[in-house]
Amino acid sequence: MTEIAGAIGIVLMVAGTVLSALAAWGVLDFPSPLSRMHAATKSASLGLGLIAFGAGLAAASPALAGIGALVAVFLFMTAPVSGHMLGRAAYLAGQAGQLLHDDLAGVAPDPGSSATAAEKKVSLRRPAVLVVVWVILWRDLAVGTVLGGLAIALFVESVLRVTRPSPRLSITGLVAFYVRYLGMIVVSNVRVAWEVITPRNDRIREAVVAVPLATKSESVALLVANAVSFTPGSLTVDMTSDPFVLYVHVLHFSTTDEVRHAVAELEGLATRAIPERAPA
């Protein structure tokens, strides 16, 4: 049993290494700043997640594997954020490169919105999640560890501005979302990797496409925007709210409809994962 896990771990580590190396080559090889971002951060994040998780399996260490999975989850949340911010900065600085199609031209940057006092609501679930992460990081379930984590989590909860009520989550919807999404990640990683391996970059056709979302829910819009950004080949460059419109930079542009279809499918899955609250 441990031998099988060890073999799987080694395979994962090798896959992660290949992915990271391809990402590095893509950073050198691709023609424009935004296209380089497609190759770089996302593939390398997934690569690192695979290496860390695989290392845990290979070393037959549940703690290491757990941390590896945690690192992977962490990267899944941070890579789209930094990608989005860098992409937006590059676009605003006029470094987007040659675009075949640009829906974002002339759109004023959205200042964004923050929670009003009425929307602020203390949640117990968020600190609970933080405490669990804290205990996993310490790998120690002592009373002191839990109390320390609890103190920090409550402090964060009371100070942070991110205080909107947590959305309702559907477990089966989330599972369906991530299973389908994992498939999309694999396909797009292979596609970008192929682009890196082949010497000429003649299939790169960059464009920025506006994708209107049907949802009114901020959480769904956020999940979709992040998912789009973590997939190599598409990157959320900007987003306006009310109604939500994503501006997606794509590496292989053929038609705007194709991009909108792909995002609409993700949005459908995300809506089922985070169902709308019944109006109170």
Binding site: G9, I10, M13, V14, G16, T17, V18, S20, A21, A23, A24, W25, V27, L28, D29, P33, R36, M37, A40, T41, A44, S45, G47, L48, I51, A52, G54, A55, G56, A58, A59, A60, S61, A63, L64, I67, G68, V71, F74, L75, T78, V81, S82, M85, L86, R88, A89, A90, L92, A93, Q95, L137, R139
Partner: protein, 86 residues
């Protein structure tokens, strides 16, 4: 196991080279920070592989810190690029 980890670390180290060239070449600040971010992720990958070789969990906080630094650094530079000209 030892051999696999050696190869993995060698490949990851070699992969830092094209990224390093991109850091030097630029031409934009965004290119440089993307490449530097990538180098940090490669470094974290090498450390994780070392953890597998030694079967040790001591490297775990290092991995967490390195990835955190990569993320915070990237976000800060992105903010800087965005506000520099306004």
């Amino acid at each position: 196991m030892d051999l696999v980890v050696n190869v993995i670390q060698l490949v990851l180290g070699a992969a830092a080279l094209p990224a390093l060239i991109r850091v030097g070449r630029g031409p934009t600040l965004v290119d440089r920070i993307v490449a530097l971010d990538l180098i940090l992720l490669l470094l974290a990958g090498g450390i994780a592989a070392e953890g597998a070789r030694r079967g040790s969990e001591l490297f775990v906080p290092v991995i967490v810190v390195v990835t955190l630094v990569a993320f915070v650094g990237t976000v800060v530079v992105a903010r800087f690029v965005e506000w520099r000209d306004t």
